[in-house]
Subunit: 496 residues, 2 copies
Amino acid sequence: MDADLRTLRERLAEISDIYRSMLVLGWDQRVTMPPLGTPARAEALATLGRIAHEKFAADELGALLERLRPHEESLEYDSDDASLIRVARHDWEKNKRVPPELRAEMLRAGAQGHHTWAEARKNDDFASFLPVLERNLELKKRYVECFEWDDSPYTPLLDDYEPFMKTTEVAEVFDTIKPALSDLVREAPEVDSSFLEEPYPAELQRAFGERILATVGFERGAWRLDPTVHPFCTSFSNRDVRLTTRYDKAGFHSLWSTMHEAGHGLYAHGIASSLERTPLANSPSFGLNESQSRTWENLVGRSRPFWTHWYEPLQSTFPEQLGDVDLDTFVAAINKVEPGLIRVAADETTYSLHIILRFVLERRLIERTLEPKDVREAWSEGMRELLGVEVPNDADGVLQDVHWSGGGIGYFPTYALGNVISLQIWSVVREAIRDLDAQMEAGELEPLSAWLRDNLYSLGRKLTPKETIERLTGSPTIDPQPYLAYLREKLSAHVA
Amino acid sequence: MDADLRTLRERLAEISDIYRSMLVLGWDQRVTMPPLGTPARAEALATLGRIAHEKFAADELGALLERLRPHEESLEYDSDDASLIRVARHDWEKNKRVPPELRAEMLRAGAQGHHTWAEARKNDDFASFLPVLERNLELKKRYVECFEWDDSPYTPLLDDYEPFMKTTEVAEVFDTIKPALSDLVREAPEVDSSFLEEPYPAELQRAFGERILATVGFERGAWRLDPTVHPFCTSFSNRDVRLTTRYDKAGFHSLWSTMHEAGHGLYAHGIASSLERTPLANSPSFGLNESQSRTWENLVGRSRPFWTHWYEPLQSTFPEQLGDVDLDTFVAAINKVEPGLIRVAADETTYSLHIILRFVLERRLIERTLEPKDVREAWSEGMRELLGVEVPNDADGVLQDVHWSGGGIGYFPTYALGNVISLQIWSVVREAIRDLDAQMEAGELEPLSAWLRDNLYSLGRKLTPKETIERLTGSPTIDPQPYLAYLREKLSAHVA
């Protein structure tokens, strides 16, 4: 049994090393790679992905996991070893269903698609992107056929990002929040935020962002921040965390992108070292991970207590732009609710409406009630209906997001689930850290960071998403009410 | 046969993808990785290296290569297919001798050693580096035992960098150049180069370097240049070439480091696309590769014709530092011969003496006539004897180079061989491009670059080093005379 467990750990460590290497290749592709490096990178990713997949679907590994079942059952459910065997078996069973060549082809197409998408967006040229979308959808169709589902063929795709969740469950949450958000958007007051749209030198934005990052609980020498077109976060171990952000010189927005990615980064950074080089060195779901990026971006980064501490330093950094703007005006501006075209620029209230649009379109594409070529039209209609805005071009419409180019279908809903979950967890945090506001007003973020690490991040992927939520909140349900209550309270505070 | 060849190409492409991925991990480690990422990176490299090694030593691959022997013999020797089968068999036979676990351990130790070395150098602390050196030597001892050799156990190590060359052959070349170089150093005139040691803003150095790089024959979008501590060049395909350089604000030296790495980069960039994803997508040896970095750094970058074109732009970029310095004075200064402590800062004449020291020490370490702990002492003695300088500390002595930390023993001699070979090839280039000087005086470097690409770089690793040299020069011999003649002529020009 000891030998089996050791062998299992070796096999999984090897697979983890390959996946982490693929993440390095992905980071490099998006942050530093010269554009003509694309074809070789696509092949490299396909090869590594196929090898990892073959290893993680090997019969020998399945037999090993079967032999370890009695050992698993003799241990505490949430012990490292029991969790490792259980989660590895789940992953093995999923991988077993997918032919390695299909996995390789999905990776290859994804890497190739990224470059085509970037060009298409630059040139506002949907036609050149359409074959990429069609190809990825065709591959997803083959992928879906590897699995069983009872509500929608979208469910197996969703499962890659939000394990164990059904399409109909997501739809239920979205059906609850959609009318409530629409009401909130309609009731939103006019707010002046013009001072956020002046020139803000990128270097100063960067320096200010790094000053804040130094306070959120990262260990020195374990992370870095780089500029990129489409901000993201990845990690190659809990001590090699890569944040990226985007600096728009024509306005002050980068900080929330930076804090968003820092939230993802703190999750990766907080995963227990004992879980390194195993499938447990991850978060339980993209939604839970997103709940933390949203926590740091919004619940901390747009809160009055946070800015009570940080607004003076910000004013000193940008005296021309903010010297005459008082704290209340600033906090109101960074919390302004206003329908817009771009998801990543959306406020907390309209944001989930952008996601609902994408969820509906993806589901229709996968359920084959929408043709890929018609997705532009459907996008425009959806934006009109959900947000009341007209889409002037595809670059600011259907081409704005990176996800579909890389085959990331099923990913979007997790952003809105993250919003919802973030408030469920935040309620618990506020109970646990009674003087949280006072700490933030004093610029002390490390206690918050440590609490989240100890109670959430360190668990890694030992528990399922629902088990993790239950461990924190006492209930496994994804409940939108705290999220809606938070938005309503915020809105009424500004109205008052 | 067609099926066998296709299978061979698939297997080799897969292996090549893994090796290229390892190069991405290596680039990231040296250019961007946060220091605490080291342990995970070491594991990832060890895992990928072991997997690639297992695949490249598989019995099945050996059988495939054997079956393809008749096909190989039916083809032209230097055809792509015959070369592929021949070179792959050579690599397979070498790999077959090495246990995968030893390969993995060498990679792991190398990646771990890099960080320890960087800290040791920073703190001038040889004692903390000694265990790394001892560990790497121990692993090399085991590696050497996998091979046969008749002159020195150093030969199998050398063979990884300079295939088919013996330690005694290197010693012979070095025995020829050592006294000649010593004479040249003794006769070197006093030259004022103080204006190169003033403050030169790093950003301007970078911009000037990039201006020159735009003229040397790289395709746009196929390369990038980044700053690093220890400049190097790597490539992930012939269209993803990574140059690195170092900017010293207190002087103007970065350009030659940039051009040096550009020479390596042009080699990688010029390899025929038909050789991509095969073991042929490389240079025949490190010495041949180095001959081209030396060509671009020195034969171009320190030549009068080159600066006839570029000196005015340089003066306009740095008017305070160079406004009063005329072209002759500048060219004399950048060609000044002066013994110093640091290899990478050495001039063309003293440079090979630094290499001879390292070769002698490495050979003694491997032949066990020198203990690792005594290498500091031996370094100081060698510097005194060869260059007449006293070593004040280990950071500027035995700790100055990255190579030993990563297990790169057997690498150094190729630098001096590169110097020697560069002049053998340069003689041919001058025959072939009659108006080379006039072209350089006009700032036209693309014809030179194209000639080298078509006649050398594009061949990749199809021929052995000696075959490659013979194809270019008519003789397979590594002949130091053109190198020595070049240095003598240069020196007399300056004396006159």
